[in-house]
Symmetry: D2
Subunit: 354 residues, 4 copies
Amino acid sequence: MAGNSFGQLFRLTTFGESHGKALGGVIDGCPAGLELDLELIQKDLDRRKPGQSAIVTQRKEPDTVEFYSGLFEGKTTGTPIGFAIHNTNQKSHDYSHIKDSYRPSHADYVYDQKYGFRDYRGGGRSSARETASRVVAGAIAKQFLGDMRINAFVSQVGELKLDKPYQELDFSNIESNAVRCPDTEMAQKMEDYIKAIKKEGDTIGGVVTCVIQNVPIGLGEPVFDKLHARLGEAMLSINAVKGFEYGSGFAGVAMKGSQHNDAYNSDGTTQTNRSGGVQGGISNGMDIYFNVAFKPVATVLQAYDTINKEGEKVTTQGKGRHDPCVVPRAVPIVEAMAALVLADFTLLARTNKI
Amino acid sequence: MAGNSFGQLFRLTTFGESHGKALGGVIDGCPAGLELDLELIQKDLDRRKPGQSAIVTQRKEPDTVEFYSGLFEGKTTGTPIGFAIHNTNQKSHDYSHIKDSYRPSHADYVYDQKYGFRDYRGGGRSSARETASRVVAGAIAKQFLGDMRINAFVSQVGELKLDKPYQELDFSNIESNAVRCPDTEMAQKMEDYIKAIKKEGDTIGGVVTCVIQNVPIGLGEPVFDKLHARLGEAMLSINAVKGFEYGSGFAGVAMKGSQHNDAYNSDGTTQTNRSGGVQGGISNGMDIYFNVAFKPVATVLQAYDTINKEGEKVTTQGKGRHDPCVVPRAVPIVEAMAALVLADFTLLARTNKI
Amino acid sequence: MAGNSFGQLFRLTTFGESHGKALGGVIDGCPAGLELDLELIQKDLDRRKPGQSAIVTQRKEPDTVEFYSGLFEGKTTGTPIGFAIHNTNQKSHDYSHIKDSYRPSHADYVYDQKYGFRDYRGGGRSSARETASRVVAGAIAKQFLGDMRINAFVSQVGELKLDKPYQELDFSNIESNAVRCPDTEMAQKMEDYIKAIKKEGDTIGGVVTCVIQNVPIGLGEPVFDKLHARLGEAMLSINAVKGFEYGSGFAGVAMKGSQHNDAYNSDGTTQTNRSGGVQGGISNGMDIYFNVAFKPVATVLQAYDTINKEGEKVTTQGKGRHDPCVVPRAVPIVEAMAALVLADFTLLARTNKI
Amino acid sequence: MAGNSFGQLFRLTTFGESHGKALGGVIDGCPAGLELDLELIQKDLDRRKPGQSAIVTQRKEPDTVEFYSGLFEGKTTGTPIGFAIHNTNQKSHDYSHIKDSYRPSHADYVYDQKYGFRDYRGGGRSSARETASRVVAGAIAKQFLGDMRINAFVSQVGELKLDKPYQELDFSNIESNAVRCPDTEMAQKMEDYIKAIKKEGDTIGGVVTCVIQNVPIGLGEPVFDKLHARLGEAMLSINAVKGFEYGSGFAGVAMKGSQHNDAYNSDGTTQTNRSGGVQGGISNGMDIYFNVAFKPVATVLQAYDTINKEGEKVTTQGKGRHDPCVVPRAVPIVEAMAALVLADFTLLARTNKI
């Protein structure tokens, strides 16, 4: 299990390097009979793709997905869905500044150590370009999930933090601005800030919040495969993620049990949902909500000191077209991973009772 | 994959309910030839067991582990290690306050919904008593890991937060106090606070920090099975955990890339280790450190309103012997889960190169 | 995945050596709400246990199973079912003839080579005693399978071969004789033959045939997890098995397509069922039938030459209480493994369609 | 685990239907640093491809593999190897004879029943065309296996059976004739027979024998993942396979233990190797050999009766370009699956000892 598959029953396996011929994947276990809207899939890919706005990387990659199998007359057949996204932008780059030296806070060094050598063209397999395949699979999972609604959005950029509870936000605003923050005023501040950071040749971190609504009761499997444990794993597997919290999260630590406990309504819903829609690892039908922390992108367009393969100090100039802040493009990736987790547990939940 | 196994190559499967005959598990994949110090295993169990101090639950459970297989003449044989911890404290309790009503922020309701009924004696399978089996397996994994050092400790209780960097702490103090905080002054404050909370019949949350030292380079598998993603999943699978962050974590969000990046020394180590010992999902040889957030225990010894199976409001009095704060006993569990993740990736790393 | 688990959704993990404290296992994924008849489980164990007749080993092992978890008020709870069978017959044996030499056609040599040493008390983990745990799990799987009927029986011992098609046999005769052959006349011949073999201190091979009736259409997953591929794997994992064939099997090789093809009836059943109830890896609703070949037991009660750890020739006298022919006791094991495969695919089939 | 992956550490996932855009797969877990000879891969594909001789189907498919990832400067990188084989022969066929009726002994009926509908263009996913992806992966596995030698060949066609022990055969003859039988005299008889069968519009079954040499001691994992159990599963997952036997196989049933047991030489090898190179599920260093039984191809070019979706009798004329006997083209598939099993266990064996 070399680490390139996710999910047990609704399972995605991905392949591809940032500068190879193609990336893609295989979705195994998607049930038969699902009418697929291919435009919705491409739409999610477009939300992730470079060049979509002034605050993301200006690389040109159309990211068009081609399906090879598993679909027939517009529906899934129950057989594996193979797909590829061809890299159209494979012109011979100059990698000399990467090939023999290690970029700080990148995976260059550990890949060389682990595998004995590496594909040094861009990040190779460690590039976030791999997440395009996740978005394809997640967009299919979303369609499988039917009424469940997954909305991710940017809730923090640097110190700029959206402090309203999600219930007061209008999710229909998310796609109306380049940052993908549902509060348009805050969105403008964040956008301005990212532009300023970009001008410095620097980068900044952020937080993506995700809210999942209309979740049926009973998803998640005790004890190791708790719903939130798998959500956490899924989010932490996204490039640049440093933390995950759900429900009351780290703030819940300072509360007393008598304050924190969610009192029941007579229909089994709760009044406060500090639990974040998950109890004992199993969905309780309330909204699931969680935060995902992204560090600042490691590639800065400034001069920096580092070492080469011989351990000698070298000074390098960061270059290329990179994201000053990763969270606007991370929004569809967070949604995709959440959808994959939910699809997997939805299938698994069919096996709980005789 | 019903969720009761953890790990791929060094794999633990657990069984058992809080009030059944026995809990236990099977460790499959522990390599042959490991000389096991059984006392070290029992010692970790003793760090988790109830009744060990005035600030934990006063239930009496000796938690003695019995090994059934996989050991011969003091060494592991490479065959599965089966073990059980018999419940000695199975006297007929009065469960009437649990049987027909749902305790807030417990798993009672979702188990009934998911499975159609539940073992209502205590928490059944959702009880943290299950983690005793994890501690057994983790203690074996620790011995397999040789020189790697895993130290977990309590870094926060309610608002009381240990703000020193871990490098300034003396880990040898951890076991010298009931809270398991390496700063003895802070430990005393935390202990006093927990006692006060207990007197109120209330509970409080906390944070466990874990530091792993002497980690070889190369553990962790791109892209889904990143080392920190599996650590996060492992921690989030522990009862009452609401959040996980590693390295710079949520605080890293507000930093710029130029500040956050870890500059290399000539030997491949880094000067700042904001990465938390993991780069691109692969250990880089630096210390791994992470925080785990625990919510306040849901069982409060106060009167509370809730609903019964018919959805009618009922008022109940919390009773029994419960932990006012879970983090002191959670320390060995966090270590155990970390050890299981590392053992698994240690074996997997043997397969990376031809 | 060290090899001691079987199944994906209905999953058995076993532990235990022939002469350890206990063997047992964990069944994970058995759906909740199944009323378990514990006597049926013990009854299958009794069909496997030593000492049940004059033609099997005369060792005394009561093989009583103790359940630790996963059951509540007579029903499965959906949580893992942990169980153990304690070895009551652990008296200090004399292993000197095994400890330092390798019994021919046993696993002694390969265990030493693979693991560096071995538990030399009896066969250790390689002993067929491990299959007792499979019988427990299989007996639970059978109850889960409801109307499906699994009947295994002995169809060959040495050259004595039952050549009737299974449709002409009365399965209710199977348990009426010590050999477990449904043709009572042939059963007597086989019994006499096994007794003669035993008198020589020798052993003999045999074939177990298994017929599964009332199978729903749709079990089995293309392309690698074909129903018959998993049945084959299951059977080949039983000690002493050398071959597996289903439907027309090896005899089908010599047929022409025009003869071999199964013509359809108007209700989708077929007229000939040479396919053996499986088409393209998926059950077609017809009877599944297959043969399992068992080699003669390797332990003969005669003098034989072999080598010791130093590679020196030694002459040894086979001793102990062993089966002259393994197939009578293998019948419930074949059934158990078939039940585990079917239970797993039954759960998996719930996920095929949206 | 929807059934389209094979292997645990060296893992192949395949996708693709017989008449879709492309088939292909992802190989995850192939260790880094393996210099790949791409011509050897294409050569194995050519051994499987249609149109290679007068006795196989005359369809025209070049079966050229395109690699998308996982290779860099001629070596594997340790990241997933994605590949595709584009279908060049996708002209609009006439499927009316298949679309609404069920071909006998094909998977048409069960796919419709299992999934609710099916891709009726040819066999869809149930077509043996899927095995092209296995051959690609197997050819890579072979190169990973280094000195191990896997030779499969045709040992029986209809009643024509090669009765010599494999030690008397010259494997270098295998590729010298269209049947892939190493005995040139028998090969000629088989070829003539297949031609005669083809003239009748009929088909015939056969047996492929496989011999694996230079196997290290210690491959295979007790108890469920025995080496021969996984080999059996692998072979039974190939289209049209009805049986598997290794070592003495079904013939061993009639032997006495005293005859069947393999006496040791002083170096740990055995004198007779009736065990077939596997003892207790673990390779013992001797040659592994096994037989795989293939039924006659179900598509006959004759008129036949069958039913349509409404269960009405219809008479159909078989047409198209099909194999009169599948075994010559099955030889590289058997080798590929054997290579995948061995590669997986080779990696797993690295984790057996501390």
